[in-house]
Symmetry: C2
Subunit: 95 residues, 2 copies
Amino acid sequence: MAVARLTDSEREELLRRHPEWSLVRDGDAIQRTFRFADFNEAFGFMTRVALLADKADHHPEWSNVYNRVEIVLTTHDAGGLSRRDAEMAKAIDAL
Amino acid sequence: MAVARLTDSEREELLRRHPEWSLVRDGDAIQRTFRFADFNEAFGFMTRVALLADKADHHPEWSNVYNRVEIVLTTHDAGGLSRRDAEMAKAIDAL
């Protein structure tokens, strides 16, 4: 399903609402790193994100090393950031 | 817990037993990429690996993009590959 790329002002709004995310890939994606007490806690978080992502059919690019989880959000169909990334960042931040 | 680094011949044995893994990081780690039908299947596999890893207290460095999971195994305490990586590769291959 095609989805519109965010305008510059929408992108600024996204970053203002979610200040712990940073722009990466020339502004076409956002990234946030999460740190937990241990692997158990990190993977528990990943499981919660996986359920959100699969329900929204919008999947992160992510990596995990022990207690650290790095999440990148972008919308390939939009060639950059879309409202789907804004919604996913909001849902992840709410966990 | 300190663990011995594999000797050259033990490392060759590891690669012979687990031919789908390749040496990376100047021979100090092994890597394998897995592809699945979709995210649901990929994350299901990750969950099984997470349970194995946490039980063994030996955690992968890994990333996921939709249906693809890339796993890197190394033993920081050994400064390279150890029997713990060989055991984890074996356990993962057996899933």
